[in-house]
């Protein structure tokens, strides 16, 4: 019963956040100073047509509540408006790219977790602060994603998954190293080691259960980091995913597409964040 209430509360809060994101983004977009402007206005061949379209858009978007309702209705029906640039439903542009970006994110996160976990286990078991391991992680995190991706492209070494995994592994490693270092110093772990229990057995019996509740937070951290890196990685490696679609929409001022992608990303972040926040609550319910 208590768990059911928690799940309902979680779903309610997630839904409320998503609705607020749609509301906020729509208002932000409508009141943006460049909403009713188009690059075609500068070209005399297309200026008249562009201005006519913008007048129609201004008429349609005069009432903010109606605009928000239309947006929410569109989301409920799976149709997120019409792209200004391609003049097709936004859902048609987004749907095929979800699988591409999702695949990239999953492979990147999976590889990063394996690398970070192995590195953190080795580094945290050492006596001294893991300068040897921390330094490369710090350097990788100090390189802008766009520069890292460009270097990999120029060197012809690695692809989008590797860049994504490198970046995530560096961040995840810092988190896992900190968590595991604390776990190694827990009294029961020290006792087990003093009694001569092997390191592998300590990891399986004591460290893994201590780490399990933090996996939700790690997933949340990974998803947020990966989504931030998605645009530069997809743009530089020419991956036809959501990041590239959003970048293209931003350059061409295709705000309906940008809004659609952003709300989708917000749903992903909210669900992961909420999931991680609730993992421990469910365990203690």
């Amino acid at each position: 019963m208590k768990r059911g209430v928690l799940v309902l509360g979680w779903l309610g809060r997630t839904l409320l956040i998503v609705l607020l994101v749609i509301l906020g983004s729509t208002i932000l977009m409508r009141f943006a100073p460049g909403y009713l402007s188009d690059a075609r206005e500068m070209d005399s061949r297309y200026a008249v047509e562009a201005r006519a379209e913008l007048s129609a858009e201004a008429e349609r978007s005069r009432s903010i509540p109606q605009m928000v309702i239309a947006e929410i209705r569109g989301w409920a029906h799976g149709d997120f408006g019409t792209s200004r640039q391609f003049e097709v439903p936004v859902s048609e542009l987004i749907a095929p790219r979800v699988a591409v970006s999702g695949g990239l994110l999953l492979r990147g996160i999976g590889l990063a977790w394996v690398v970070a976990l192995c590195a953190a286990l080795i580094a945290s078991a050492g006596r001294n602060p893991s300068v040897f391991w921390q330094t490369p992680a710090t350097i990788v995190l100090a390189i802008p994603t766009a520069a890292l991706a460009t270097f990999c492209l120029l060197a012809d070494r690695g692809g989008p998954v590797l860049v994504m995994a490198l970046l995530l592994a560096a961040r995840d490693f810092k988190f896992l190293d900190h968590t595991l270092r604390k776990a190694w110093l827990e009294p029961h772990v020290l006792q087990a080691r003093a009694q001569g229990i092997g390191p592998w057995r300590v990891v399986v019996a004591h460290l893994a259960p201590a780490l399990a509740p933090r996996l939700g937070a790690l997933a949340s951290l990974s998803v947020v980091t990966a989504l931030s890196a998605l645009v530069p990685v997809e743009v530089i490696f020419n991956v036809p995913g959501l990041g590239q679609l959003a970048w293209n929409a931003a350059l061409n001022r295709d705000l309906p597409v940008l809004l659609g992608v952003m709300v989708l990303m917000a749903v992903a972040v909210t669900c992961t964040g909420m999931g991680s926040a609730r993992t421990e609550e469910w365990k203690s319910a």
Binding site: I17, G34, L230
Partner: protein
């Protein structure tokens, strides 16, 4: 402590050097030397020139100062907003606290890069470079506060439950005085938040600029210089294109080092 001092000295040295380069007579980040486009290092252009014949050293120095000033200002705004929201949420009625934390969740649910791109693309076509730089850093400040506000909220709640606070309230100290005593105790929390935000904002501006959506030309920015890396033929002609990237990584390492030491 020694490491922190060394980092701060290095940063100060870089700021002085960059200011000297920018203020040198005759140096102008927008001036073009059309006879020396994509030139290698020389006496007149110590770090070569870009594709438009502009001195790369002057542009890197100006980009460093602009980015640092923007990031510091944005970080100060973020920290002030976080302190205000966190304190209000902790000391206000529970409904207010819940609402403010919900607002934080909404902001945290919006991926930075996508929202930045949306705001940047929604600017008028005639936005000046100076305005685009101001808007970029203002948007960064507007998006950066929720995570810090959550940390401040937790910190203030802990302070609110502390013995000295209980004693102060029991002896009849009013709300305003309580907050006045809280703020100095929040500094150990606010200073790291302020320092952590600076490299994050520098990095965000660089990534946005690398996608062609950052500070407008001819104003120099890290992102604008990273954008040069997309031009493969240019990379074949001069290795000096990598100079801004190396310096940016060094600056970010120093800023992150300063934040970690705090």
């Amino acid at each position: 402590m020694k490491l922190r001092r060394a980092i701060l000295c290095l940063l100060a040295g870089l700021i002085v050097a960059a200011s000297a380069v920018v203020c040198m007579p005759g140096s102008n980040y927008a001036r073009q030397d059309r006879d020396a486009t994509l030139a290698s290092a020389s006496v007149s252009h110590p770090a070569g020139t870009d594709a438009l014949g502009r001195d790369r050293l002057v542009r890197v120095a100006a980009a460093f100062l602009l980015s640092l000033a923007g990031a510091v200002a944005a970080s100060a705004l973020t920290t002030a907003a976080a302190a205000g929201v966190g304190t209000l949420a902790a000391f206000g009625r529970s409904a207010m606290g819940w609402t403010l934390m919900l607002v934080c969740d909404v902001f945290l649910a919006l991926p930075w890069m996508f929202l930045l791109m949306m705001v940047r693309s929604a600017l008028p076509l005639t936005t000046s470079p100076g305005r685009s730089a101001t808007i970029t850093f203002l948007v960064l400040a507007a998006l950066g506060w929720p995570a810090s506000a959550r940390a401040v909220y937790r910190g203030v709640l802990e302070l609110k439950r502390s013995d000295w606070m209980l004693y102060a309230r029991a002896t009849g100290l009013n709300g305003g005085s309580v907050v006045r005593h809280i703020i100095p105790n929040l500094f150990p929390l606010l200073v790291p938040q302020f320092l952590i935000s600076i490299p994050a904002f520098v990095m965000a501006e660089a990534n946005l600029g690398a996608l062609g959506l950052g500070v407008g030309e001819p104003l120099p920015s890290w992102g604008g210089m990273l954008f040069e890396l997309n031009n493969s033929p240019l990379l074949m002609q001069t290795r000096w294109v990598y100079f801004p990237v190396i310096l940016l990584v060094l600056v970010l390492l120093l800023l992150e080092g300063a934040a970690a030491e705090a």
